[in-house]
Symmetry: C2
Subunit: 435 residues, 2 copies
């Protein structure tokens, strides 16, 4: 790769997600050369992807050009590249655009969708980890509505109007809530030929409550809010297969549907080449110590979803969400500076800022330590926090304006089928989840 | 097609462009059943497509969901469909979703790119008539910059950094100006490895001045502004071929390039089935009388680019731009109401509101009858007029905010490669221009 080798230590970061970006911003303009690699030229604010899927926001509002980070320091570089493997012996990574030597390597490749080995789901389902995938889901929802309008076959129309989401974590809850809002407010106006009562949103969850990572209070309230929006919740229900038309479960429930969205789990997205002992195989994550050093390596670090740091409170590692990733990124910046100065490393402590999920257009559930609340005020907090964490003044402003507009007008501006998804399955498949 | 036949006369409009939309909005809630068909579910504000191509705006800002038009009147319908042919004998159109009988048919299918029979250009070039095409051009520009960053071969880098635009009408002028702004303000910051002096924008024009449809004053000023932005203008230069790598012209000029954008002409996009005598073959447009009735038909109308109305001032028909389309759409609304009431039809008179084109970030040229002006104030007028004609309050606000932001920050927010274009030419070709 044509990056000049200087006297400065070189830090290579694989991945510009929450962890990689938090790290990069803190080591810019320090006494080192930083190289960031990503297979996209933008950072994705994943917590709002569901709004891209449901026509509320355009991608530019929740994405941020990664070159806007590196351009502030002429010693630093961005490269659009896919990393294929690591040769730790020679401190080299291999990528789609050539090899690169590192002094310090940071793996921040995040997570990918976990199908738990179910091939029928991977083949026929949709999922939402990237902007193109979110846009595919948007197109599919709108195309199904268009098709339902002209279909005379009642069985086919039913299948077109059944939307099945699997996994009632924050993604499943927020996405099913947003699709319910589409049904309640957009469909009756835009699709007078479609009977909104024929449109059903099914949310399937293997455990006995929605939002299993959150408090009982949050689960109960979110369940109630979803109920009121008309989302049909099926607890203790595991999907056995989906053949592109019929969902089969471990219960009596079987649903004919053209839209099957899988949000039931993630696993790490590791890079090939490190010792097997560095990996926790089942989770697909690298085991790291309290300094985020990958097990068995001195100069290789992992942060964010891909890192599994066992602590007393989190014996199976931190939750695979934005906060631990951001905090680990910032913390590693400190430690890399220590390393370069020959100082002692500091151990990482996770500060739990709480979790939240929004349900529908104006309600949310929030767990803030012992403080648990829900409803309109929670939604207000949710909105404020998400605007706060969105990167970039422009993104915040455009998103805020769109939210106000959507809120007042019960409208979704971006309901455009830009890239038809249907009938092109062979050429326009879901992007792979690899970094 | 499953549209109920009522006692009301049925008006079918093919195409939701400027003409079709202007007509539809004026006959809504009248004593008739209106059916609008389009192959996209949105109206495209084509004058700003070049800003989507150059990362200044996202599609949702310049597109408008067509169902937002028809939803205001329960008697009216929208269908996402491609019209394949017309059987005038039986008052029927044939579409991708079935047949439809009409009482009055309005053809508003617009225009498509004219390659003047040059197959090499059609095969290897790019053009910009639709949102997906504009997004493809955006991706290609950004991918070329990324590739230029890593290419060691100087010849290849040159080709990646040569941008060739053919045709110095408004599209060619505005697009080349916007790419020059990218080079002058974004490339030096975002791509420190690319020497902006190596990036060249070539604008080729077969005639002896830029903006040939505008005044001499406008041509001269636009030429000067483009010069100052660093666009290389080649007048009296006709492209003979482009093989995907090399542009050959009728002069000594030959340019190696990976980006060849064709904006040198349009022709009508007719539908099959009408009598040959109704068509002006070379223009691809239907000949219409002063009521926009297609030659030889009583109840078939054509409006906008597809209509060729010979008048004293315009013996070859009106210019194929937004204004005549909008005015014909509004006027035909009146005449259709007259027809239904058994009243006399009114002849169409075109009111020339002037033409304008923007060059770069803050200059434009404007011809308003005898009043011709250019520079910063002209740009201000250009901006105001384009915001005014943009459909929808939200679109106006978001566009206005983005312009202010881009203007103050010399920035382009949407520089995201969402759908990589390169290496996928086989599956992701330019959309066909058919309606």
């Amino acid at each position: 790769m044509n990056i000049p080798r200087t006297d400065l230590p070189r830090v290579v970061i694989i991945g510009g997600g929450f962890a990689g970006m938090a790290l990069a911003r803190k080591i810019l303009k320090e006494n080192m050369q930083m190289v960031m690699l990503d297979r996209h030229n933008y950072h994705t604010f994943q917590p709002l992807l569901y709004q891209v899927s449901t026509s509320g926001l355009e991608p530019d509002s929740i994405a941020y050009p990664l070159r806007k980070i590196t351009r502030d320091d002429p010693k630093c570089f961005f490269r659009l590249a896919e990393v294929t493997s690591i040769s730790a012996d020679s401190n080299t990574i291999h990528t789609s655009i050539g090899d690169l030597v590192y002094d310090y390597l940071v793996i921040a490749t995040g997570s990918k969708t976990n199908f738990f080995g179910n091939e029928s789901i991977e083949k026929h389902g949709m999922w939402m980890k990237t902007v193109p995938q979110a846009l595919n889901i948007r197109s599919l929802i709108l195309e199904n509505l268009e098709q339902a309008t002209i279909t005379e076959d009642p069985e086919k129309r039913k299948a077109l109007l059944n939307f099945v989401l699997v996994g009632a974590g924050p993604t499943g809850v927020e996405l099913s809530g947003a699709i319910a809002e589409l049904r309640n407010h957009i469909v009756p106006k835009d699709y007078p030929d479609v009977d909104p009562n024929e449109m059903h949103i099914h949310l399937l969850e293997g455990l006995d409550r929605v939002l299993p990572p959150m408090s009982e209070h949050a689960s109960k309230k979110a369940h109630k809010f979803l109920d009121e929006l008309g989302v049909k919740i099926h607890l203790n229900t595991m999907v056995e297969s989906y053949d592109g038309h019929l969902v089969k479960t471990n219960t009596d429930l079987a649903i004919k549907t053209e839209t099957f969205i899988w949000s039931a789990g993630v696993k790490g997205a590791p890079v090939k080449g490190l010792n097997a002992s560095a990996m926790v195989e089942k989770a697909g994550r690298y085991e790291v110590n309290a300094f985020n050093q990958v097990q068995g390596y001195e100069n290789i670090f992992a942060i964010g979803d891909i890192a599994l740091m066992k602590t007393e409170k989190f014996p199976k590692g931190h939750p695979m969400v934005a906060q631990p990733a951001i905090q680990q990124g910032k913390h590693l910046a400190k430690n890399i500076k220590h390393l370069i100065r020959g100082e002692k490393l500091e151990t990482f402590e996770y500060y739990d800022k709480g979790t939240m999920a929004t349900v529908g257009r104006n309600r949310a559930v929030v767990d803030l330590g012992k403080w648990k609340f829900s409803g309109f005020f929670a939604w207000f907090v949710w909105m404020f926090v998400h605007l706060w964490f969105l990167v970039g003044f422009r993104n915040r402003t455009v998103t805020f304006f769109n939210w106000i507009y959507n809120y007042i007008n019960y409208d979704k501006a971006a309901r455009l089928i830009i890239r038809p998804f249907k009938g092109k399955e062979e050429t326009m498949t879901m992007d792979s989840d690899k970094v």
